[in-house]
Subunit: 216 residues, 2 copies
DNA sequence: ACATAAGTTTAGGCAATCCTAAACTTTATA
DNA sequence: TATAAAGTTTAGGATTGCCTAAACTTATGT
């Protein structure tokens, strides 16, 4: 049960070690804005939990479990930050700050779903959390390419323009939802889809940003 | 600086008092899953912060500041829960649980933006946070709800009946187009809109299926 | 190589929350 | 209206995490 605080230590150690190096007490203290004594105390705890390898006076490194945990939290941070910027339209500074809190409380599942909305492409790295799922993302086909009568589940939204993503979400185009095409109007005109209880007209450009996995 | 924990106490007191009644130690203890002694201790702290009014053996009530604070947190919970369900497609149980954590870390601004995406209409109550903003619901208001002279962009069409959607589209009601209301005829009669070069009369029922984002 | 500087750990404390047990107040009942 | 039951508070501790000061280890310079 690493607390938010322990998680922060792990994160700083990850940053300092880059996954394999050794981090020193003073450097951790500086990053945490905490006294060296407090760091030593925490290192003992984390070592006891087998999240780090710690030799007195010699510095720390992450164990495989510690590394996995730290990466998972770091991924959540990145996903949350991106999400706050792209979906809630927050600026980078605020998004970063808020993500520092969200990383500790966001469930794995929610992070994965945010990732799908926001697109993994620009995620410097979220494999700890999303694994192959992020890659699978490429598997859907664009909503404007399916034919009338076909149904499927929304897989992800392609993220090139946050404004459009926001719009799609506000209309209800959200990964996981089932959708079917009712019909097309004209070759360039909007397409009519059915989702839940309502029919929604979406113009082709917007539809092309939505990827679905078509039912067999 | 009410900690997450203090905030939880405030929330439980709000639930028990409904804003004005009096809450008793034991009931708070039961809701918090904590001993009565711990509650007493916390009540003293909250009273000291002037968030509650506390008389030994007599129970507690929220002060105006305490009430405002509790409501703000409760609103964040509701908005987050709704958002998790509608945007991340989480089920109610998980969303509720996660919202219990988010309520303490979500910034006011992010909550307001989530609220705008998810729509305030269904929000049982979020006025503490959003005030009149909720009504504005950036994701679109029905075309029959705007007033003469107002203009906006069509956001989406919503309806159970594909026939009506097709009709709207064939008239030119397509997401993205700019539209303005010219005037109403009678209270139940058709409304006249201007779109591009032409005026179009639309009856109220059809107009209510069209959602627009009104220009500020 | 050895003294001193730099870095790290230990010791002893403080604050926030939680706990149990005992003391005290209020309510309810015989 | 006493007195037992129910409810509440006080007392005394535990835990987590932070701090400063002192002690200890390692590194550096001559």
């Amino acid at each position: 049960m690493a607390s938010g605080n322990r998680e922060d230590y792990l994160l700083r150690i990850l940053r300092l070690t880059n996954g394999d190096g050794i981090a020193k007490t003073t450097d951790i203290a500086a990053l945490m804005n905490v006294s060296a004594a407090s760091v030593t105390e925490m290192l003992r705890i984390l070592a006891n939990d087998e999240l780090i390898t710690y030799k007195k006076y010699k510095g720390v490194s992450l164990t495989p479990e510690g590394l996995a945990m730290a990466k998972r939290i770091r991924d959540k941070h990145q996903i949350a930050e991106r999400f706050l910027m792209d979906v809630l339209d927050k600026d980078q500074g605020d998004a970063h700050e808020e993500a520092c809190k969200m990383e500790h409380i966001l469930s794995d599942e929610s992070a994965r779903r945010m990732c799908r909305i926001v697109g993994a492409a620009e995620m410097s790295d979220c494999e700890a959390l999303c694994g192959s799922e992020c890659i699978k993302k490429a598997s859907g086909i664009q909503l404007n390419k399916i034919s009338a009568g076909m149904a499927g589940k929304i897989s992800h939204l392609k993220c090139d323009d946050a404004e459009k993503i926001r719009k799609l979400i506000s209309i209800g185009f959200v990964p996981g939802r089932t959708i079917s095409m009712v019909n097309r109007t004209t070759s360039n005109g909007p397409i009519i889809f059915r989702m839940g209880e309502s029919n929604i007209a979406l113009d082709q450009e917007l539809a092309s940003l939505v990827f679905v996995n078509v039912d067999q």
